[in-house]
């Protein structure tokens, strides 16, 4: 390569870098569009602190990086044997070495001061207005509003769940908010200091909504604290950020921030129908017909069971046994009910007692009749059967 070629390469790569960085700047406001390259500025005071720390450090390291690249490229261009460069013989300089030890140290000190202030602010969970307890499960979230009588589970929405199955005929691209939508979002008021208490039921998860500015691990047996004060009404999406098993990629988080009035209306609505999860009457034990049971059951199966036991009930390995032709499914009715209501301890089969009688009756009936299971004596379960087994 001659000088001109090298210069061209250098100019081109600098231009490319500049283009990427300016694209980053342009994407700040609407981070969810394709080609997003930067952190969101977010909607809480913490996310804005994190964002400004991020941008400050980003520009500092970018300038240093460009300096290193420029230094190396200049040497490569200037001190080439083919250009007749003669090697010097010097090999140290105490003064220069002191400078390039001390200057980086001072730069780091300059970054450490605002970072310390930011960290102190992040840990200040006092003076909160309300508390929400977040519990991670394989693979969904449970939200409990400790100041209200509200509790519900939040899972991947059905459309995404159908589209994400292997060999699904639904294209992910046709699903709105693919993998970032849930059945029951977390609803919170704006301009309120919300304290989050985070824990988990099985393995470690991590609750992360980028626009809130942080993630925090949810750890079984321990409770972590974090806080957020959302400043703008809107819908904010995130995901589990700690590997938690097979469906780690499929337990999104959706936070809907409402104005105080809208939030209060929502709370009133929830406390009337005490179970935010399902719009069914808990106390209704009347019989359902087979079609209704199967329809409810298929829906519950898709939401709750399919991730492990698979779309065709074929299961997966030893950990997630097949339901087709299974002794547990087709055997004793009471034992079968107990599997769903109590779970099986020592395995990943958890209790689903949180579901309503109608839902449990539906899914018990569905699994006992689907995929050819009805050949071995399929029968139905009614809400009253479930209630009796609780």
């Amino acid at each position: 390569m001659n000088h001109n070629k090298l210069t061209t390469v250098f100019v081109a790569s600098t231009a490319l870098l500049a283009l990427l960085f300016s694209a980053g700047a342009a994407a700040e406001t609407d981070w969810r569009r394709p080609w997003g390259v930067n952190l969101p500025e977010g909607v809480t005071s913490l996310s804005q602190v994190a964002y400004s720390m991020h941008m400050l450090t980003f520009w500092i390291v970018t300038v240093i990086g460009i300096g290193v690249f420029a230094g190396v490229f200049y040497s490569v261009w200037r001190f080439r044997k083919s250009q007749g460069a003669k090697p010097a013989t010097w090999h140290h300089s105490t003064a220069v070495e002191i400078v390039w030890t001390a200057v980086p140290f001072l730069i780091l000190l300059g970054i450490a001061i605002p970072a310390t202030q930011a960290m102190i602010k992040m840990e200040d969970t006092g003076n909160y207005d309300m508390t929400i307890k977040v519990t991670g499960y394989q693979w969904m979230w449970e939200y409990e509003y400790l100041d209200e009588d509200i509790q519900f589970f939040s899972r991947l929405d059905r459309d995404s769940d159908r589209a994400r199955q292997r060999n699904s005929d639904i294209r992910p691209r046709d699903v709105e908010h693919y993998l970032l939508n849930v059945d029951n979002p977390l609803v919170v008021p704006v301009n309120t200091k919300i304290r989050f208490l985070l824990t988990a039921n099985d393995v470690i998860h991590s609750w992360w909504v980028p626009e809130l500015g942080w993630k925090k691990d949810t750890i079984p047996g321990f409770i972590n604290e974090a806080w957020a004060d959302i400043q703008e009404p809107g819908t904010y999406r995130g995901q589990c950020a700690e590997l938690c098993g097979r469906d780690h990629g499929f337990m999104p988080i959706v936070v809907v921030a409402k104005t105080q009035e809208d939030y209060e209306a929502w709370v009133a609505e929830q406390t009337e129908d005490s179970n935010g999860d399902v719009a069914v009457d808990e106390d209704d034990l009347s019989d359902m017909d087979m079609d209704d049971l199967m329809a409810v059951g298929e829906d519950v199966y898709g939401n709750q069971c399919m991730a492990c036991h698979q779309a065709g009930g074929e299961g997966m390995g030893d950990m997630f046994p097949a339901l087709v032709g299974s002794d547990k499914v087709l055997g004793d009715r009471d034992a079968y009910k107990s599997v769903l209501i109590d779970g099986i301890s020592g395995t990943t089969m958890q209790s689903f007692a949180n579901l309503s009688n109608q839902e449990l009756a539906g899914v018990l009936t569905y699994v006992r009749n689907a995929w050819g299971n009805d050949e071995d004596g399929g029968d139905e379960f009614q809400p009253a059967d479930v209630e009796a087994a609780r």
Binding site: F58, G65, V68, H92, I111, L179
Partner: protein, 527 residues
């Protein structure tokens, strides 16, 4: 007794023993074992690479297209374990075996039989580990970090994973003890510590790190084993334990481990850049002190892997400050390499190209490391593709590029032939371009919100994932060229001189190429 010893000694003068098994299975020769280590590393580089190809193929577009999420998790977990314990560490140990004795003027390693055993434990460990791919429940899928309680959900793979880690740990410890013993006891007269090549220095420090932290990992996984099978509750909150304690112990091993994977690279690059700049290394003693400082700091920064677990404020601040300090000695190294090139007389053979790329791309990884050190922002970066991009810049364009540079640099000494320079340059340019296409967009993905270790992703991440996958496929295929170049060089080529490179300095370049089976039986005198 004396006579027997003498006979054996004489036999060795004639070169390696005849017979394939006698030569390779029973060998205690440091050059043979060095070759075995490096070939093993190369093999595992392709095994781990094949897993990476599965990962990038699945992530090529949204939707679950090829594999089940559980299998995807097995791939990410095994990719890391294979690349770290099977690829990079054995490759560096192989380089140490081959080079340290000839760089310090020793006839062999201090403990040749330990050397043989340390190597042959590796294939044993990897048979255990890779066999889990065919077991009920599949291979380990809880991440290479093995966090409980998730890791306890593994099927039959669990005990195999634990014992594989034990065996690989024993192998590393024995290899390292051997390296320390060799360097401290077997230097030629006049080879004072501060005259040793930097590769030897880097490995001396690395070996101490390995001896210090591998037993910690062994302890941590043994506690997992007893939690699973013997009713202890070290990491189980229900029994009074703490799952986060595992993370503290693991990262007390894990952070020094990542420096174990990079310090030898510093040594390699410090040998290559002065050679092709035809100018002595700038700041030799500050390089030694910087390496030692980085090694010391590596013991007090583990908490930066755990900013999201809910540590006390004081803990987070301590780990943030300590981590930021790592940038100072690392910066010194980068500046020293730049100063070495300054006013040199450079040529750009393949080892030099890889070394220059190392300096530049490792800098990118180092600078994103400074960003990650900041606890308040790490709460955003943590467990995203930004972290994936960061550690692949330091491990692939850092550690792996340095290994490639080393292979091209010393291959003529090992084989007696020059490699095909033209193909070497093709390998370099294809690798360097594709590796950036592969990993640079992952910074964007992470910042825009894509978590790591997920088999499928939201639609806004589609474009950069596809670009990254294309880069990955090209990078993967390009490495076949590397193998072809090595085979071609072993089989023949232009005869290499003793010095090989015009600017080469050091004892190994006083030996003929290829170096005889036994070297420096009479120690050279170093002035």
């Amino acid at each position: 007794m004396t006579a027997t010893t003498h006979d054996t000694h004489d036999d060795h003068h004639h070169g390696p023993p005849a017979g394939f098994f006698k030569r390779w299975l029973f060998t205690t020769n440091h050059k043979d074992l060095g070759v075995l280590y490096m070939l093993f590393g190369l093999l595992m580089f392709f095994v781990g690479g094949a897993m990476a190809m599965v990962i990038r193929a699945e992530l090529f577009q949204p939707g679950l297209n090829l594999v089940d999420p559980h299998f995807f998790n097995q791939m990410t977990t095994m990719h890391a374990l294979v690349m770290i314990f099977g690829g990079v560490m054995p490759a560096f140990t192989g380089l140490a075996n081959w080079l340290i004795p000839v760089q310090i003027g020793a006839p062999d390693m201090a403990l040749p039989r330990v050397n043989n055993w340390a190597f042959w434990l590796l294939p044993a460990g990897f048979v255990l580990l890779l066999a889990t791919l065919f077991m009920p429940g599949g291979a380990p899928a809880g991440g290479w970090t093995m966090y409980p309680p998730l890791v306890l959900q593994l099927g039959d793979a669990f005990p195999f994973l634990i014992f594989a880690v034990h065996i690989l740990g024993i192998s590393s410890i024995m290899g390292s003890i051997n390296i320390v013993a060799t360097i401290l006891n077997m230097r030629a007269p006049g080879m004072t510590l501060m005259k040793m090549p930097l590769f030897v220095w880097a490995w001396l420090i690395t070996a101490f790190l390995i001896v210090a932290v591998m037993p910690v990992l062994a302890g941590a996984v043994t506690m997992l084993l007893t939690d699973q099978y013997f009713g202890t509750s070290f990491f189980n909150a229900a029994g009074g334990g703490d799952p986060v304690m595992f993370q503290h112990i693991f990262w007390f091993f894990g952070h020094p481990e990542v420096y174990i994977l990079i310090l030898p690279a510093f040594g390699i690059v410090s040998a290559i850049i002065p050679t092709f700049a035809r100018k002595p290394l700038f700041g030799y003693s500050s390089m030694v002190y910087a390496t030692a400082s980085i090694a010391f700091l590596s013991f007090i920064v583990w908490g930066h892997h755990m900013f999201t677990v809910g540590m006390p404020l004081a803990g987070q601040l301590f780990f943030m400050y300590a981590t930021m300090l790592v940038a100072v000695p690392t910066g010194v190294k980068i500046f020293n390499w730049m100063a070495t090139m300054w006013q040199g007389s450079m040529t750009f053979e393949t080892p030099m190209l890889f070394s220059i790329a190392f300096v530049l791309l490792f800098t990118i990884g180092g600078l994103s490391g400074v960003m990650l050190a900041l606890a308040p922002v790490d709460l955003q970066y943590h467990d995203t593709y930004f972290v994936v991009a960061h550690f692949h810049y330091v491990l692939v364009t850092g550690a792996v590029f340095s290994i490639m540079a080393a292979v091209y640099f010393w291959l003529p000494k090992w084989t007696g032939h020059m490699y095909d320079e033209k193909l070497g340059k093709w390998h370099f340019w294809l690798s360097t371009i594709s590796v950036n296409v592969l990993f640079f967009p992952q910074h964007f993905l992470g910042l825009a919100g894509m978590p790591r270790r997920i088999p499928d992703y939201a639609l806004q991440f589609a474009e950069f994932n596809m670009i990254s996958s294309i880069g990955g496929f090209v990078f993967g295929l390009t490495q076949l060229l590397f193998v072809y170049i090595i085979i071609k060089c072993v089989r023949g080529g232009q005869k290499a001189t003793s010095e090989v490179w015009e600017g080469a300095r050091g004892l190994e370049w006083t030996l003929p190429s290829p170096a005889p089976y036994h070297t420096f039986e009479t120690p050279p005198v170093v002035k």
